[in-house]
Amino acid sequence: MGPAAKEKRKEEAKGLKRVALIGNPNVGKSVIFGLLTGKYATVSNYPGTTVEVSFGNINLNGTRFVLVDTPGVNNLLPMSEDERVTRDILLSERPALVVQVGDAKNLKRTLVITIQLAEMGLPVVLDLNMEDEARDRGITIDKEALKRLLGADVVGTVAPEKKGVKELKNAILEDSKVPGFVIDYGPVMEEYAEKITALLPKTNISRRSLALMILAGDESLAGWLKSRLDGEKLEAIESFREECALKMGRPVGLHINEIRLKKASEITESVVKKTGEKEHRFIQLVSKISMHPLWGLPVLLLVLYGIYEFVGVFGAGTLVGLVEEKLFGEYLNPMFTKVIDLLVPVPLIRDLIVGEYGLVTMALTYAIGIILPITTTFFIAFAILEDSGYLPRLAIMSNRLFNIMGLSGKAVLPMVLGLGCGTMAVMTTRILEGKRDRLIATFLLALAIPCSAQLGVILGMLSSLSALAMAIWATCVMVVLLFSGWLAARILPGERGEFFLEIPPLRKPALANVAVKTAGRVTWYLKEAVPLFILGTFILFVLDKLALLKVIHKIASPVIVGLLALPEKATEAFIIGFLRRDYGAAGLFAMFQDGLLTPTQALVSLVTITLFIPCLASFFMIIKERGMKMALSMLAIITPVAIAFGALLNLALRSLNIAV
């Protein structure tokens, strides 16, 4: 548990009730979280997962609660890591209330979870979200009847329009009951459930529900059990489980799920009326095209072009121009410099703040002036893609391509995010199934995916070179990406992660949702990444003052000059590039504008720096996610590969006499 959770623990001790937010993936849970807490859930909401568990405070009519957002689940009999995480939260946190957010048009699946919550003995408020979509398909739910059948409160919401939120808040305030479900799983199951229940320790959730999980073969409970029971009891439980499995003759988990599904079906049929499909023909058509093996491609290209225009041209061009050049360049920096020069007598401190590697003149200018506008526009574009439901379709289109790199199509999410911010992308690799997939994705992100800050500068530079240069650059990066992935897939043992994706309906992205998600990510960025950039700048400052920069320069130059045939000054760009990706590219850009680089040199330097090691922030994130050993190995592999490839390109261009 992280520091945030520990903090909340303290709050709990003060007597605050905890409310857990549970639901299937892609039902709008995190938006509801945002509406209730006024806070934005952190990071990824890929149809599939909330990457981290978020906590927020709600204040309703004076009563305060702590709201816990959980990863989306399809079942509390865990079959994926997210489901395990959510199940464990319920097991260890004992929420006073569970707010289950469900998809109004998919009541049956929603109820499968409600049933399990009831069996666990948890009070539930059922929030049927996306009622507008259900209506569009001619689906209406008799909420009163459902309330009666469940014995629990049922509200309906349309989250982006804030409809029904008041009713939801009221329902949370009221005393909620545990839904009254009693399901019979058959004589064999019931017998063994009883036997195991008798052996289990008293706990936050109903022991019978735990017994059912154990019978279903849930191995993730092993650790929890070991710490609470002695060896004898553990053995007894295990032998009961085996006996039951043998007697049943078919997978127990499947049996349990089928019975639950049947019960859910019964209830659904009695409260839902379907009045024929009314979903807009147009949207259906667009949806079909977006996944079509042939027509899906132009759609994909169109989307990519849209992103390029919005992020690359508007974000990296117009906005950066405004903020960095005008705001910082013409107003803030000169102003700061003047003020510091006046107030601070010590030249060292002066330099620290407004010098060449100054905290304001370099760190803040670049963090706020360049990176923030670009990443914000990127996050907006990304949130639009997410909310519209296009991302999983993108995963389908790119699945085959990703298979070559040893990844499943799901990896399209972190890879595309990597074009925005590599640090965030590495974090998002959590949604990939299997260590192998995550490792390969992280490696490829570090090697061949340039982040938006860098990308902006690189594309700018390439466009002032020639179309050929851009083509060569793009080809080089693609080739390295595909080949490295392919090679990594061959070398690393294990199977590719499974491809199992839920495809939500295509919908018009709701501005509110986009705003909530973007705000969340930008906040994350400001809190997590910017301090690292400041740290990086500080390190540069220290290196410079200790004249170590010159030393590194001397050591690295021969490589840069000899192998890559670049002027010595370019070394600086590479060194700085580690601490700040965009600096590297920007440094080269400056050299190019000053006429210090020939077109060929420019191209070689650009390709090399694109492949070069990731920035400090990303590096720290890789350590955090994959471990120090892996991170260092990646560093050790990427550095020579980038330089070797650059050298190769240089050789090829010169010997083939290609002018760019």
């Binding site: 699946r109 997978p251 093996p293 199992f500």
Partner: protein, 227 residues
């Protein structure tokens, strides 16, 4: 059971089993257009008396050292071969077993004609066994020429857009499929096969790959009109 079927009914005595095996062996050799010699057959089966009995029972003739079927013998050989190879198909395709030789050998003696036809229909009147050898046609296969499709197919062979009902599931991820409502008995629709399999169950749409799709066996809805 009609007289005809009684005649074809799988015999259960040891002698009958031996005869079946022998007839099948002869059939196989004959398939490869090779001549079956008496000496060879004795070597294979290691029971000269048994083979001679078969001549006595009117199942085979021996002419100039070569073994030939009588009409009766040929009919029986054909039937038993058909059952054996259908059993192999059943074990290999539907049950996904790799070590099924012995069981297929056993099953061929125990299947009744009705069961044989049901298996053949279920599998869609397969023309060959898993080893590629032809399965002799049966009555049901003749009708098949008029009927369009086999009864139960895997998602791999299903038609895009047609309404199906899931008959059974096997393979990886059936737990996760169950989680989203895909179980035996659910109504399912195939949206596309490439670049991935996309299917819809109620209001849920998922994308999966071939390895999972080929384990979902479905049956077409017969009653629906324009649903």
């Amino acid at each position: 059971m009609s007289d005809e079927l009684k005649k074809r009914a799988a015999p259960e005595t040891e002698k009958a089993q031996f005869e079946d095996e022998a007839l099948e062996a002869i059939w196989e050799i004959a398939e490869q257009k090779k001549e079956v010699t008496f000496a060879e057959l004795n070597d294979d089966l290691n029971d000269e008396q048994g083979v001679l009995n078969m001549v006595a029972d009117g199942l085979i003739n021996v002419k100039d050292g070569a073994v030939e079927f009588t009409d009766e013998g040929k009919r029986r050989a054909r039937d038993i071969t058909r059952r054996h190879r259908l059993a192999e198909r059943l074990f290999a395709d539907v049950l996904a077993l790799t070590d099924y030789e012995r069981d297929a050998c056993r099953l061929e003696h125990a299947i009744s004609p009705e069961v044989e036809e049901a298996i053949c229909t279920l599998l869609g009147h397969p023309p060959t066994c898993p080893h590629g050898r032809p399965i002799p046609r049966g009555q049901c296969c003749k009708l098949y020429v008029k009927k369009v499709t086999p009864l139960v197919v895997s998602m791999m062979e299903a038609e895009v857009g047609a309404p199906y009902r899931v008959v059974f599931l096997r393979g990886p991820m059936i737990d996760r499929l169950a989680s989203i409502g895909l179980v035996a008995g659910s109504d399912i629709k195939l949206q596309q096969k490439r670049p991935s399999f996309v299917l819809t169950i109620d209001e849920t749409t998922i994308a999966i790959e071939e390895d999972v799709a080929k384990g979902i066996f479905v049956k077409k809805h017969e009653t629906e009109n324009g649903k």
